[in-house]
């Protein structure tokens, strides 16, 4: 019966029109949405936005995202922006008994998904992303030299954050508990670029539980697939 249910779900998903995501694949916020689409096996179309040509400021894009940012999203008449809002819509739409990545039916589990999603936004990302900016984005895309002072300060912040993650992941397999969730997926893009595009990937060696959690995530087909597209080493 489970196998029949799985086949039925897969067929239903294939019959739905593909949803559209607007933005470049390299954007961490676009990747946040793509991870969720890949995880739920949804059909989607990625429509790039021409940033150098100010495509994000044109009326057609502003109609989708009034702040002129990426990503934007369309599912029939539903038009959304803000990556976390889009991702949650996807996870709710394609939710099944086998695939419940938000746990909104369980007060405590949902709270933990929310907590670690917020932690990624307010603690983890602000510590790691300046390192990616200084080591990769600014030199490659803007021809600017790396500001080592910013990198060093961010590394100190990152260590403090990773210590907390280490303690937490020594007690739980995933961030929200013993189940993979949206909270873990939110860490994918930022961590991927930190590992792939900076010389500091060995930072995680000092935090064995964090390293194991990351390697476990990267073994997921969704992240292997997206990582191959995002890699700066191609």
């Amino acid at each position: 019966m489970l196998r029949l249910a799985t086949i039925a779900t897969t067929l239903t998903r294939k019959l739905m029109a593909p949803v559209k995501v607007f933005g470049p694949a390299a954007s961490t916020n676009v990747a946040r949405v793509l991870v969720c689409l890949e995880e739920v096996g949804a059909d989607y179309e990625l429509v790039d936005i021409d940033f150098p040509g100010k495509g994000h400021k044109r009326p057609d894009h502003l109609a989708r995202n009034p702040f002129g940012q990426v990503p934007a999203f369309q599912d029939g008449d539903v038009i959304l922006f803000e990556s976390r809002a889009i991702a949650k819509y996807v996870l709710r739409k394609y939710k099944s008994e086998q695939l419940d990545l938000l746990r909104e039916g369980n007060l405590e589990e949902a709270a933990m998904v929310d907590v670690w999603t917020e932690v990624e936004t307010h603690q983890y990302h602000p510590a790691l992303s300046p390192i990616v900016l200084e080591c990769f984005i600014y030199p490659t895309l803007r021809g600017l030299p790396t500001n080592q002072k910013v990198v060093d300060e961010s590394l100190e912040k990152a260590k403090k954050v990773l210590e907390i993650y280490e303690t937490h992941l020594s007690k739980h397999k995933y961030l929200a508990g013993d189940f993979v969730s949206f909270a873990d997926f939110n860490h994918f893009a930022c961590t991927f670029y930190f590992m792939d595009a900076t010389p500091y990937s060995n930072l995680f060696d000092s935090y064995p539980y964090v390293k194991a959690w990351w390697e476990n995530l990267m073994s997921r087909p969704s992240m292997k697939k997206l990582g191959a597209n995002m890699s700066t080493r191609n």
Binding site: A85, Y89, D114, H122, T167
Partner: protein
Amino acid sequence: MAPVKLYGPTLSWNVTRCVAALEEAGVEYELVPINFGTGEHKSPEHVARNPFGQVPALQDGDLYVWESRAICKYACRKNKPELLKEGNLEESAMVDVWLEVEAHQYTSALSPILFECLIHPMLGGATDQKVIDENLVKLKKVLEVYEARLTKCKYLAGDFLSLADLNHVSATLCLAATPYASLFDAYPHVKAWWSDMLAKPSVQKVAALMKPSS
């Protein structure tokens, strides 16, 4: 049911963001102050509630929740889930969009202004007018988007009050204590939305908590 405990000073608009949600959701709560002056936020007792040693933190029985916006959602799910609309795919998406906009567009521009006007002087520093001016430019662009939105809908997520509206309350109340209190005058629909919010008992309760004598 024992009241939940919310830890943190009412001076913090991250703490009072949670008060607005708890009040509107009708969750019984107890406010427990945390003394930053004595480093209480870094004490083992508090770090057990919030491993980043920050405020707010919430305790509900054996459960600890931290990060203000996670606490606010918890309050709604616990007692007034219609503020989130999680059973409805499209409505919940609109709530989420404007919850994210509050965090990433509105409060991210407003917070530095509040810090420079209200907190920096208290810490013995000088107000950095350049920071204020840069963020006012950003905030005004954001308010233009809000004006267009609130011309079409009574509330941010649609024609229903949601957590997206409530999450704006604490920081916006603080604006009244700065020289920029009349910022909304140039955005009539935003001003009307805010007047409607101010009339709510839950919002009045938050405002009362923020008065200097509290």
